[in-house]
Symmetry: none
Subunit: 402 residues, 2 copies
């Protein structure tokens, strides 16, 4: 396979009444800790186990075996976009996550408000993790910066985090980052990393100079560190590609941003698991595809907190019966990637998947775990093939060829 066909799948896609729910449990899977069991194997998840038994299961590779994906490519892949063709940098995701109205050609970058001493060394990369409120005030000081016709729009995200969108002609995102990643060092200079980036590097450098000047009396947030330059790229939308009227339910901005990029409607939702599942229920009639994102498994995994991750999995499990009551035609439960607590970060391990529906066929999997799912009826497939499978099982794909 054959991304070629996924790129043409709109020729086969048709709109029907059936509904698809894609439940993405971020960083779902893992590897065994000292107990010899993974988080999924440790968790008491009777509802997911029963669902696995009553479905067809398998594992997916977010990119390909051995490749550890960031959240961006992992989600793109799950949404059926080849992450090697569509590159969406972190800055862009961050901008989308705060509902920033991006335009084609915009250059977005993540910023940390930081503290710098009088020798120009960073003493706190997060400016004492200032409150979002203070952050808003700092961003006000940075309004209206423009360098050589390029506008720099600085927007607060959360705590010490901001996003900067550069807008104008000829911007390029092949730029080095300024965050030295350690306290006690000076910010790194912006360097062009590609043949077309020299001009942009100069503009961003002058932007940083202007920020320093404007924030010189704004302790502790008197500097900005930049990473994740990314230029805006247009994805074919879910409507265009799958003829789906899709909605996203995600508490975390970055995932909302990603879903918006794929043309999904972003449903307003509170910050709890309960809010998310309730939002699905309330909006069930209005869309034919739902992407529901659960963040907390990944956060626990990143923290190396095996127990917490197990607890979140158990909490997710408790919402499965309610989800099934909504009777979606196709329900997929999977992750975007693995986040083993043992590794305290994303990993390359394949991700279990449950595909539930009337026409899936069956297998012998009776437990939702890494080990069991690998022997399931889906086998091991690239995550990019999940959407075609979802569409097929919802009877939303016409036959290819005569």
């Amino acid at each position: 396979m054959t991304n070629k066909l996924i790129e043409q799948i709109e020729q086969l896609a048709e709109t029907t009444d059936s509904k698809i729910v894609l439940l993405v449990v971020d960083g779902l899977s893992g590897i065994p800790d000292m107990s010899g069991k993974t988080e999924l194997e440790t968790a008491n998840i009777p509802n997911l186990d029963a669902l696995a038994k009553d479905s067809i299961c398998g594992v997916t590779d977010p990119i390909s075996p051995g490749i550890t994906p960031g959240s961006g490519p992992a989600h793109l892949s799950l949404f059926g976009y080849d992450p090697l063709d569509y590159k969406i940098g972190r800055g862009l995701l961050e901008a989308l996550g705060i509902d920033f109205p991006l335009e084609a050609g915009d250059l977005a970058v993540r910023g940390n408000l930081a503290t710098m001493d009088k020798n120009g060394r960073i003493t706190d990369r997060r400016a004492g993790r200032i409150s979002t409120e203070e952050n808003v005030k700092v961003c006000k000081l940075l309004e209206g910066i423009e360098i050589d016709g390029i506008k720099a729009l600085v927007k607060p995200v959360k705590d010490h985090r901001v996003v900067i969108v550069f807008r104008g002609k000829g911007l390029d995102d092949s730029l080095s980052e300024t965050d030295p990643q350690r306290e006690g060092l000076a910010p790194l200079p912006i360097k062009p990393l590609g043949p077309l980036a020299a001009e942009t590097a100069g503009i961003v450098t002058r932007f940083i100079e202007e920020v320093k000047k404007r924030l010189s009396h704004s302790f502790p947030a008197n500097m900005i560190l930049l990473r994740g330059f990314a230029k805006s790229q247009k994805l074919p939308s879910f409507q265009e590609r799958y003829k789906l009227n899709a909605a996203a339910i995600a508490s975390y901005p970055m995932y909302r941003g990603l879903a918006r990029l794929a043309g999904m409607e972003i449903l307003p939702v509170g910050g709890s698991l309960n809010d998310e599942f309730d939002c699905l229920k309330q909006n069930l009639d209005k869309y034919d595809f739902f992407y529901l994102h659960v963040k907390w498994t990944d956060s626990a995994g990143e923290d190396g907190n095996f127990k917490k991750k197990v607890a979140v999995l158990e909490e997710v499990d408790s919402y499965i019966p309610g989800l099934l009551e909504l009777n979606p035609d196709v329900l997929i439960v999977t992750g975007d990637h693995s986040t083993p607590a043992v590794l305290k970060g994303h990993s390359w391990h394949p991700v279990p998947i449950i595909l539930h529906g009337k026409y899936t066929g069956s297998d012998d999997v009776a437990r939702f775990s890494e080990k069991e799912c690998v022997r399931g009826g889906i086998g091991r497939i690239p995550a990019m093939q999940v959407m075609p499978l979802a569409m097929a099982n919802a009877l939303k794909l016409k036959k290819y060829g005569a």
Copy 2:
């Protein structure tokens, strides 16, 4: 993978004395009906089960997960041609199936003889399903039509079905179809669907006018409906690609046509399963590759006739001992795609495969079923990789690289 390598496989292929039999049980696999079992799981197929046990098994994706293939792309894939590169429309297959000597650049289209009332509305899309004999007479009335230097060759297929081959320069197959798909409606006008098709659209429109005129007194077959325009494309032959001297045994025209396109010799054969297997036996010495096609599993599946499909599977099973007595070096039993009776049509589900030979290695599969095969030693592979596996196991592929 890596169609790239299949496209270059002639560099590795070598002719040897070993023999390969590819038994394609059309629409082989399915999904469980109310009984909880698939057709394969329901059928009493001791010989196929024993063969599966004594072989290595797996499942294939005709195109890729989630994609339901037509018979054309499904067969191309099984023959090792990328169905996304080689597109063979239905009209072309139909022409090949009646032994029509196609030339490069020919434009073929399927036709139904139909009945039209005096207001120009179709009252019977199949002209009362007239006999093949009557069809032959009608086609005689349509001999010698030529429009602007383009010849239109109208040939009977079966019952009310005909094929028209347009021959001449500059033909294009991006044309809309005329069959309104329902009685009581007028035939649809031919429309060009691509930038190069305007001229061809005009020619086909004038051809239809001429047919109407010539058939005005030929009740009930007084009109023709066209669908499946397809322009002739050359495939690299089995001889070129695999250095195989290949023969096809297929009762149904379309599959013979497909095999001819791949450069196989078409063996004359009667219309029963017995005829087909007997033909294989009679011709065993003359070829080193046999494609044997069993149609009736697919027909039963398309009809939603679970029981009938089970019966055909059992009938196929009864020929396995005789087939093994012929002692082919490599025997493959698989389908071109799934046709679950539950879905009354082709589907996207992966297709079980048995690969039998001296050098296959082994696995734990003991039953020829969807569920068991997915855990077999072959795993889940694209159908395009079946031919390389067949060739390798017949020791007909040299080492790649030094």
